[in-house]
Symmetry: C2
Subunit: 337 residues, 2 copies
């Protein structure tokens, strides 16, 4: 079944295609009656404008690329939701790619998106500097980039949406201390993620403030998976670190660690309380539910979408760095009842 075009309508109404077009785009210079007739016919025949024609005409594809490190947790899908809220009503399509925490894949995804002729790319990095040249290259080719959550280390000329990692990490540690914990382990994120340093910084600051800091309490997770969290907990026990609580870089690490502790008959929160950063629904799916710092993911997506729109409209638009406020959600994993 052939798609109905403006030409079909014109032929049917004995009008020129330009008049039909004018009616459809609500041009001023058209007789109201004519417009009405066209609109009626369009409705009747189920006319749909062909996006490809517009893309060609205006040189804009109305495609936005999204690059995320993983889609196993609901983190990215929440952000996606926010992006869609803004972009779908404006007729943009969103093309999602997953890097699998692998900079090499991320690179391929970026090139794929360029191939797809996207008008801009919203990205959550898997590595703070591995693909800097690609990012730079894309920017130079006029494809705007917006970073969110995990941002690049250098001062790349692009807008960012993030939370204040140090501040919120500090708040979490304050919370643990307020519940009487003293030996707080930090499961630090991997070195190749900028936020690792910042969250660790927030942790260290508060620990020092209370005279609780002990480098032996900081343990670096090799990656960001459940398994990495699990292994970190294993190491903790093997090294016989004395600890009463745990603050993990991320949900997945916390849950991985928690499951290992549970297996070892260590009760949570009775024996060890557990908390994390970057909480998602995942935190409420497990037992006990996980105390976590929760960034406003949907708003993060909406903000990123708005920033990319601004850059698409005017490539010279300011490269804002937007900080959103995260929320500290206290749940059973840090709360004896």
């Amino acid at each position: 079944m052939k798609r109905i075009t403006i030409k079909d309508l014109a032929r049917h109404l004995l009008l020129s295609t330009s008049t039909v077009s004018r009616a459809l785009v609500n041009d001023q210079h058209i007789h109201p009656e004519t417009r009405a007739k066209v609109l009626e016919a369009a409705r009747k025949f189920g006319y749909k404008r062909n996006p490809a024609a517009l893309n060609l005409k205006y040189g804009l594809s109305k495609n936005i690329g999204l690059v995320v490190p993983e889609m196993v947790t609901p983190f990215s899908s929440k952000v996606l939701r926010g992006i869609q809220n803004i972009l779908y009503p404006l007729g943009y399509r969103i093309i999602i790619t997953e890097s699998d925490e692998d900079p090499h894949r991320e690179r391929e995804n970026l090139l794929l998106l360029e191939e797809f002729n996207v008008d801009g790319i919203i990205i959550n990095l898997c590595d703070k500097k591995q693909n800097q040249e690609v990012h730079q290259q894309l920017l130079e080719r006029g494809i705007p980039l917006v970073f969110f959550d995990r941002i690049p280390s250098g001062a790349l000329e692009a807008p960012q949406v993030r939370v204040d990692d140090a501040k919120h990490a500090a708040a979490m540690v304050e919370h643990l201390i307020a519940t009487g914990k003293k030996r707080i382990v930090h499961l630090k994120g991997p070195d190749n993620v900028l936020n690792s340093e910042e969250r660790a910084g927030g942790y260290i600051g508060v620990m020092k403030k209370y005279g609780l800091y002990d480098p032996g309490l900081v343990i670096e997770a090799g990656g960001l998976s459940f398994d990495d969290g699990r292994k970190a907990a294993e190491l903790l026990l093997k090294k016989a670190v004395d600890f009463d609580s745990l603050f993990a870089f991320t949900d997945t690490l916390a849950i991985g660690a928690m499951n290992f502790l549970l297996e070892k008959q260590i009760l949570i929160p009775r024996d060890v309380s557990v908390s994390s950063f970057s909480g998602t629904e995942l935190a409420t799916m497990i037992y006990p539910q996980l105390t976590s710092v929760e960034p406003p993911l949907m708003r993060m997506g909406e903000m990123a979408a708005n920033l990319i729109l601004a850059k698409i409209e005017d490539i010279g638009a300011e490269n804002k760095v937007v900080f959103l406020d995260a929320e500290l959600k206290v749940r059973s994993s840090t709360q004896d009842k």
Copy 2:
């Protein structure tokens, strides 16, 4: 920075655009030397073909729509991965929409995708019949549909990829019985999902076969969320149903129920063993890990992609119903150690 076109290359090389085009598409009728020159220039100037122009020319958008009920669990993202494996190398873009288990939203998504001019739609339903007319309409308008996992109830003229729900449910119940369980509760999925009936059917068949069937053991979950699972478990205790194990329609239900039981100090698997259908990574993120029937999600996506390609190529292609084999993964939630 302006995008470089075929025209720019032609001008630079003092050739016609058609010659350049021929070189780029590997046409036979071209001097090898000329081709080499063109390819070299294309590489040098970073030429990228404009997809929009091709879309316009051939009337194909190279966009495929994906409609999924939720993206909180990794289910959909696994299927997506499979779809991408097939479709990205062929230059297709994939546009993802989430229905949020709401037929109304699903309908909007479908219309949005039509608006976006997709060449086909791959869909996992949230309701077995609510949007039948829309599906029918899309098919009539020449937009092929492929269903996967949760399929429509009527005999819609479209390919499907699924697993044998009854068979695998039966296998799971057999497993529970083999571990000595007799009072096996089934957390049945909601009525508006076709698979609910089929999985329940598999359950009932085996229960009857062993003379264990008791209608009081079947409890219908109002929906598919964690909370629905939780509430179902609550009801179970309130009604003082005597049970030693539980087979849930889906991961989310099982986990919701499990968490409630754990809160009530009911140990898993010691007091009650728990299992589910449609397992995802989620099953391994929790403690204890969940025994589940795991459909080959990535292959499901790949298969769906292949089916939609066949339909795009030839709208009259056979409407195959493909059954994939799922795997019964036995984990700690049904295994005393």
